[in-house]
Amino acid sequence: MANLTINGKTFTLDVEPDTPLLWAIRENAGLTGTKYGCGIAQCGACTVHMDGVAIRSCGVSVSEAEGKKITTIEGLAAGDTLHKVQKAWIAQDVPQCGYCQSGMIMAVAALLSEKPKPTDADIDEAITNICRCGTFQQVREAIHTIASA
């Protein structure tokens, strides 16, 4: 059993303490917006926020996440109001297949909360998610649009 705080709600989940947070989120809490891509913290598809910091949830155990504030893509919007990254993603048509974009959006949201006006170099350093469709150009442009708003 583990108690996790995800998107402001407390979940009591029947999981072993070493279960990766990703799978507790997807299978036990039932929030499937967070994606599995590699399971070894390489691709970033499973990126969520833990106490406001972007982490790769496949590489963090449930026991490490207990007592922390977890935010997933489902909890990024404030009620019906989408987060500025989500709005920009829609306005600039960023996703292609979209599978990596939950993680990409969470990584970008974390970057912007730390650096509201990131340079290209900041983006290059902070955004290390794999996108096989190759949406990087739209990702970069959308970040700059948000920053200049």
């Binding site: 299978e27 917006g33 590699c38 893509i73 292609q96 297949c97 979209g98 939950s102 096989r132 949406t135």
Partner: protein
């Protein structure tokens, strides 16, 4: 109907929607909404025809048979239908018919396969006619109601007007009556220059759910009572499952069952996938690896190298004059050998499918590039007839050719068949996905060019040795043993025609098929053929002491469309002007999938092995551009996919198995490595080419040729990581 653009899609809606699908066709025949001839969508709205459903609130539902996998075809096809329909784009939504429904209606939606950059080009004619036919019927219904000639009625944005009487109505109001009319025998399609919806860079129809985590991919499918399966197939292709020790994992948490899947694989079924995967890793398995366990990358390379020898048999794909004789008597000759490795598609979402098997029905939910192929696999694996099976397409997390295959569908059904009544979601681990790809085929190529005393190219011999995809996947498409697709990009004519005129030309393929299963990997055979040919063109230009662009241009007089995109790229990148200090350029062109493409790169190289790509320019002539914003994304995405493969890709074989296991050993480009791609669209009209794949052909050679310009060194082997070359 399996509505896949649904902001409110949750478990309940999904299950209910699915249940309605089964009854959908019957509803059309006897329910109270209209005449017996009207076919109805699941919500009761009338079909004007198979492509167009109009709801009473004027929402237009456009049916899409091809699969969306990120490439934008869903939106592009809807634009084409809406253009002819003259409906209000803001009221357009889309849905997928299921393959089972299509088969039951004599394949009214045509081909479902979504590969070969065919999504739009191969269906544009009949989907536009579907839109135009519906428009004619809707107007006729209004005219009948008003008792005026249809020719006096006009339509704009779904509002029909009879000017003389001042009457107006909307599509939603006349759809019932229109659905009962006899469709016109013939309709005239618009000239693309008059398009107002098609041809525009409209936003995609399926974006919102991809930003909120609500889009349902195959991995996200949930059904009541569903269990999860993890699988291991024999890591040596062609090997078999010998035994496994189930007792070792029986007590593990969540484990429900261990099942054999065909002759080659074993799966663990558990309450969660994490439990299934954990137990599978603990399961002792003995494989019968067979003879293929002796195969390695070295043994394959040796076998392919033998095929480069002119004494070995080969299929001739393109020929004029007598290349061998011309080379023998030439004043100067240049020879080079290149190779290109296996590549995994590495879609972001690993392969998966969910299957529910009962004694009288088998249903599958999955991302697929070919709904009908997935349907056929379901029939075969379940043993049930077509009327008892169906496949519900959900969004795939990438395709790139991999999801045109149905191995994962077959496995899911074979597992579900052993647990009747329980829905089973089979998900491959990334490691399984790396081990069981359908890989870009492996080849080598020996090229010989010959010059006369005035440095004119008089002969070219292009000898390819290696794997045929069709031999493995579509043997019926071979022509007297020859794989015509092997010549993609260097073919005599057709949709992937060679763009140079050489007086003595011989292009041939010594087919060698190792045991590693090949597949259609984005760009397919254009990839290596374009790298070989375009890098060698640079070598020939160098040997002739000529500028690479000018050298090409001289050979392209009879290929004006190839030349036009090359010129467009050269102009945009400023080929005739000096590059910035320390920056070097490379250029390449190819034709594939009916489109003409060219690319140029500006790079700098530090320490001889660290490449920074500063700038990429790419041009394409696909005939017509249905959505320029999406075409631009396909061009840029082709560079990311192609350069990822060039720098980081390459699957190697040891003991008959693929050695790479995950993104740590099969890496992919990140945002810091990828410059902006400046695309130049030069659609010349009169033909319909594809856009998802052709550009990948020029990605690698543009960079490799720039690397030579920067360093004086030729790279003839992919990937660059094997040569200690990486991104700066």
């Amino acid at each position: 109907m399996n509505k896949h653009v649904s902001p409110k899609m949750n478990r309940r809606a999904f299950v209910v929607g699915t249940a309605a699908v089964g009854a959908g066709l019957a509803i059309g025949l006897d329910l109270p909404f209209g005449g017996p001839a009207v076919v109805r969508a699941a919500d009761g709205s009338p079909e004007v025809n198979a492509w167009v459903v109009v709801r009473p609130d004027d929402t237009v539902v456009i049916r899409i048979a091809r699969s969306e996998m990120g490439q934008g075809s869903l939106t592009g096809l809807a634009q084409l239908v809406a253009e002819e329909l003259e409906c209000d784009w803001s009221k357009v939504t889309t849905e997928y018919p299921t393959p089972g429904q299509s088969v039951a209606r004599k394949r009214v939606w045509g081909d479902f396969s979504t590969g070969g950059s065919r999504g739009i080009r191969s269906s544009q004619d009949y989907v536009r006619k579907g839109g135009a036919t519906a428009r004619v019927m809707l107007i006729e219904a209004a005219a009948n109601e008003w008792k005026v000639p249809a020719s006096e009625c006009t339509v704009a944005k779904g509002v029909i007007t009879h000017k003389a009487s001042g009457k107006t109505t909307t599509y939603g109001k006349v759809a019932e009556a229109a659905a009962k009319l006899t469709p016109p025998a013939d309709v005239k399609l618009k000239d693309p220059k008059d398009w107002t919806i098609a041809g525009k860079g409209l936003l995609r129809l399926d974006t919102a759910d991809k930003t909120t985590g609500t889009m349902i991919y195959g991995i996200d499918v949930k059904l009541p009572g569903m269990l999860n399966a993890a699988i291991k197939d024999c890591p040596v292709f062609g090997g078999k499952l010998k035994s496994y020790d189930e007792a070792k994992i029986v007590g593990m948490k969540g484990v429900k069952k261990v099942v054999k899947v065909g002759d080659t694989a074993v799966a663990v079924v558990a309450d969660t996938w994490w439990h299934a995967k954990t137990a599978l890793e603990a399961l002792p398995i003995v494989w019968d690896e067979g003879e293929n366990a002796k195969v390695s990358s070295e043994s394959i390379a040796k076998w392919l190298a033998e095929g480069l020898d002119n004494d070995q048999p080969a299929y001739v794909g393109n020929k004029n004059g007598d290349a061998k004789a011309a080379i023998a008597s030439a004043a100067k000759k240049v020879e080079a050998v290149y190779n290109y490795p296996y590549q995994n598609h590495a879609t972001m979402e690993p392969m998966n499918a969910t299957a529910l098997y009962t004694a009288d029905k088998c249903e599958v939910w999955c991302g697929t590039q070919n709904g009908e192929a997935a349907f056929a696999a379901t029939l075969e694996a379940s043993g049930l007839p077509a009327e008892k099976c169906d496949v519900h397409k959900v969004m795939p997390g990438g395709g790139f050719g991999r999801r045109g295959q149905t191995d994962y569908v077959r496995q899911a059904v074979l597992i579900a068949k052993q647990m009747p009544g329980t829905p089973i979601k089979l998900l491959w681990s990334r490691e399984e996905d790396m081990a069981h790809g359908r890989y870009h085929p492996i080849t080598q190529c020996k090229m010989t060019g010959a010059f006369d005393a005035n440095n004119n190219l008089v002969a070219l011999h292009y000898r390819l040795s290696g794997q045929s995809i069709l031999f493995s996947l579509r043997p019926e498409a071979l022509q007297n043993g020859m794989d015509p697709a092997a010549f993609q990009g260097v073919a005599q004519s057709g949709e992937a025609a060679f763009g140079y005129s050489v007086p003595n030309l011989l292009i041939e393929h010594a087919m060698r098929n190792p045991h590693v299963p090949p597949g259609f990997w984005r760009g397919v055979n254009v990839n290596h053929n374009a790298i070989y040919m375009e890098c060698f063109m640079d070598e020939l230009a160098q040997a002739a002491g000529q500028d690479p662009l000018e050298f090409r241009r001289k050979l392209m007089g009879n290929h004006p469309k190839h030349l036009a995109v090359l010129n467009a790229v050269a102009e945009k990148i400023g080929w005739t002007k000096p590059a910035p200090q320390g920056v070097y350029r490379g250029i390449a062109q190819v034709m594939g999938y009916g489109s003409y493409v060219a690319g140029a790169a500006e790079i700098s190289v530090t320490d001889g092995n660290k490449i920074k790509v500063h700038r990429i320019v790419a041009s394409t002539d696909p005939g017509y551009v249905v959505n320029p914003a999406q075409v631009e994304r396909q061009i840029a995405g082709s560079f990311v996919y192609g350069l990822s493969a060039l720098f980081y890709g390459g699957c190697t074989v040891k003991d008959g198995k693929i050695e790479q296991t995950n993104f740590d050993t099969y890496n992919s480009m990140r945002i810091n490595e990828m410059p902006k791609v400046e695309s130049v669209m030069v659609p010349s009209g009169g033909f319909w080419g594809g856009v998802g794949e052709p550009t990948i052909g020029v990605a690698a050679p543009a960079v490799l040729n720039a690397y030579f310009a920067a360093t004086g060194k030729r790279i003839r082997s992919v990937p660059l990581r094997d040569q200690n070359i990486t991104f700066a």
